[in-house]
């Protein structure tokens, strides 16, 4: 599924559409975002070298790690460094982001620094001005792929570093302008989510079409404190973790996927999730209060219910309420005192109702409660 993301980036943007944008998030509990970034970068570079992708080059905006690091990275992955200036340009915002070094060198304070020069890297000294940065990126891209129909990938090493220098709205402006640029095929960036405000993170998620967040495999339970409990978790989390992917599809649906990863000598390795998938049932739709199925217990209980009209006839005489409210209390008395009335009832046995109204002024049926027939 990490492969799926790389393929989506490789396929790039359709005509007239914004370029797909990937946010790679991590946090202190699972600080492997940069490894995921390297993985995506090397995958894309191999696609580009093999000419299987929409884009023909990568412009890497390096804020947190210098161009030499990336040279080493590409060498270790087996990419030919010599020919790398055909498909990659590095905009070096790491060595001298605010131009202080060059100012100091001009004034003679420090000795002239000879950086390991590489043909692919160009120094950028003004990270506070994002308009110029946009211009620099697009110029580098045009250098790589020419002015016509060629497209290039933009990789930003760490948007967190950018946010140190400028506001979220200018960063968001830069990213959205890159997305809508005709020659950008896709872009991806790294973000450390726990050092920014939620508003900034929400804004970056708004701008991206795919999000990968690296999370630890197990989170320590809140109630437990003390190092003795945390150490096993830490160890486990340092060796691997999970990535959760949110994929915004073109038809407007969101696909959620997860995978596990582990850190090895050669880098990062992804495996499909082994443990039980935790499905979080989101209630988007109203819950309806119908339940048409009966559980076993409910079925038994239903069989046990005796219906109201079934009560009578268990040996007792069937008594039909005849409008006199004091039935139960006067029961012993009835047998002695109102013998005549009872006799008439008894004589007829069943089916005769003699009803004595309290008064003739009352509306008919006002003192009758049909529910009194029920023997519940």
């Amino acid at each position: 599924m990490a492969e799926r993301i790389c393929r989506a980036l490789r396929d790039g943007a359709l005509e007239g559409e914004h370029a797909p944008a990937l946010t790679i998030k991590d946090s202190i509990q699972s600080p492997f975002g940069s490894l995921v970034f390297n993985h995506v970068l090397s995958q894309l570079s191999s696609f580009i070298v093999a000419q299987k992708s929409q884009s023909q080059g990568i412009v890497l905006v390096a804020f947190s790690r210098g161009p030499l690091y990336y040279e080493e990275l590409f060498k270790s992955k087996g990419n030919d460094v010599a020919s790398s200036n055909k498909w990659i340009r590095v905009l070096d915002c790491c060595t001298d982001p605010l131009g202080w070094r060059s100012k100091l060198m001009e004034s003679g304070r420090i000795a002239n620094l000879t950086l390991g020069t590489s043909t692919t890297a160009s120094l950028y000294k003004n990270v506070k001005d994002l308009d110029k940065l946009l211009l620099a990126i697009t110029e580098l891209g045009k250098e790589l792929v020419g002015d016509g129909k060629g497209r290039f990938v933009v990789a930003i090493d760490s948007v967190s570093e950018m946010l140190r220098h400028t506001s979220i709205s200018s960063v968001a402006g830069l990213l959205s302008n890159l997305r809508s640029h005709d020659q950008v095929s896709c872009l991806f960036w790294l973000l450390h989510s726990d050092i920014h405000e939620t508003k900034a993170i929400a804004a970056l998620e708004y701008l991206s079409s795919m999000q990968v967040s690296a999370e630890p495999i197990t989170r320590p339970v809140n109630g437990q404190r003390g190092n003795s409990v945390k150490l096993p978790f830490l160890e486990q989390n340092l060796r691997g973790g999970k990535i959760h992917v949110r994929f915004k599809r073109r038809n407007g649906r969101v696909r959620l996927m997860s995978e596990e990863f582990c850190i090895e000598q050669s880098g990062i390795k992804f495996t499909p999730i082994s443990s039980e998938a935790e499905m979080i049932a989101q209630s988007l739709v109203p819950k309806v209060q119908f339940n048409l199925q009966l559980s076993e217990k409910e079925r038994n209980d239903r069989a046990k219910v005796v219906l109201p009209f079934e009560h009578q006839g268990n040996g007792k005489t069937i008594q039909i309420y005849d409008g006199r409210k004091s039935l139960n209390e006067d029961k012993p008395e009835m047998q002695y005192t109102s013998a005549e009335k009872v006799q008439t009832v008894k004589d007829s046995g069943r089916g005769e109702i003699i009803y004595f109204r309290d008064s003739d002024d009352e509306m008919p049926d006002s003192d009758e409660d049909p529910d009194d027939d029920l023997d519940i």
Binding site: G173, S176, N177, G252, A281, V285, P286, K287, F290
Partner: protein
């Protein structure tokens, strides 16, 4: 209950000579309480709202950051205005908003759709009780229409709108990224609205304003919430005194909850869209027709101008589907009965009847 038709009162407006001119203007129709409607571009949404968007009202759409469904609403709204030759002002945070006009859908003409014919045929088999025949008659007159003078067109999302619709002077596009604050934009809106003032004389045409993603992060003013609020407040008051409708979309997840609540209260008609997860087995069991759905639309508030009586809808959540991948339809949610022991309800009610578009006759 007469479904989504406006509830008639004992008094009815006496439409005299002026009424002829109104019915001749395409795209406008009379509503209850002396208001007038213009179409949203989506026939189902017009039915749900009781006729369309009220002239002089502010419509707000709450976006979902994970899905572009608000674009469907804006596109249909703008296309409808262009087809009816109504002046249009469009603002978005993109650097080149004119490019968006090329993605607007084109209207489908009646020979393409069979559904309306089907409805008419079904009704022939019904025997209507005499006292309800008067409602039936009104419905019929809405159905019989030609392509050009239809109040609400069905739009084909796959076919782009022809250039001649939007290349005129009446269409204006503004980029929200350019201005550091909202004053210039506000001035542009005011001058646009002065083209369609409301006065006692007959109205000639209605205007439309579409603002997409007002508080998008790339705009410089997106953290100046007071400025945005005062802009919207003054826009609302200007709109009230003009014959126009403004549709504004904003992402509530990117602004503070207090600001989002204030915007929701400022709106006359409030609608929100929501994304649905893909290949979710739980939802597939819960909802019939899940495969075709692209999202959910909820109507929270319906504009009631000149009246104190609120509109209470039968259902507030609808599923958005693309019929033949071309036109947007809204359907009531059809749910399988489930154990409802947990969970708060998202909407007040949902229809349990079989698949239904809001039917032609609702009693």
């Amino acid at each position: 209950m007469a479904g989504n038709k406006p509830r008639g009162s004992s008094f009815s407006r006496n439409f005299s000579a002026t009424s002829n001119t109104i019915s001749q203007i395409p795209g406008l129709k009379h509503g209850p309480n002396g208001t007038m409607f213009l179409s949203s571009g989506i026939p189902d949404l017009d039915k749900i709202l009781g006729g369309g968007f009220t002239l002089g009202s502010l419509v707000m759409v709450m976006e979902d950051p994970e899905a572009p469904h608000h674009m469907l609403l804006i596109r249909n709204f703008m296309s409808q205005g262009l087809v009816h030759k109504q002046p249009l002002l469009y603002a978005s945070p993109a650097k080149d908003p004119r490019g968006f006009l090329g993605t607007l859908p084109s209207p489908m003409f009646s020979k393409d759709e069979k559904s309306r014919d089907r409805d008419a045929e079904q009704e022939k088999g019904l025997r209507i009780a005499w006292q309800y025949k008067k409602y039936f008659g009104e419905q019929n007159s809405e159905l019989l229409r030609d392509g050009k003078s239809e109040y609400c067109n069905d739009f084909d999302l796959r076919k782009p709108l022809e250039r001649h619709f939007y290349s005129g002077q009446q269409t204006d596009c503004i980029s929200l990224q350019d201005s550091a604050d909202l004053t210039t934009f506000h001035d542009r809106c005011s001058s646009f609205l002065s083209q369609t003032p409301r006065n006692d004389r007959n109205i000639t045409c209605a205007g439309r304003i579409a603002i997409q993603s007002l508080s998008a992060p790339q705009c410089d003013f997106s953290d100046k919430e007071c400025d945005m609020l005062s802009f919207i407040r003054s826009l609302k008051s200007t709109i009230r005194s003009s014959n126009a409708v403004a549709v504004i979309t904003f992402p509530p997840s990117l602004v503070s909850p207090a600001f989002s609540k204030r915007l929701q209260h400022l709106a006359d008609t409030l609608v929100s869209v929501k994304a649905i997860p893909d290949e979710d087995k739980e939802l597939a069991k819960l909802l019939t027709g899940y495969q075709d759905m692209v999202g959910l639309l909820s109507v929270h508030k319906v504009a009631r101008i000149n009246t104190q009586v609120p509109t209470i809808l039968e259902a507030t959540t609808f599923s958005m589907k693309l019929r033949k991948r071309r036109s947007l339809i809204l359907e009531c949610l059809n749910q399988a009965p489930v154990d409802g022991s947990t969970g708060s309800s998202y909407a007040s009610s949902s229809s349990c009847s079989g698949s239904s578009k809001t039917g032609a006759i609702d009693f």
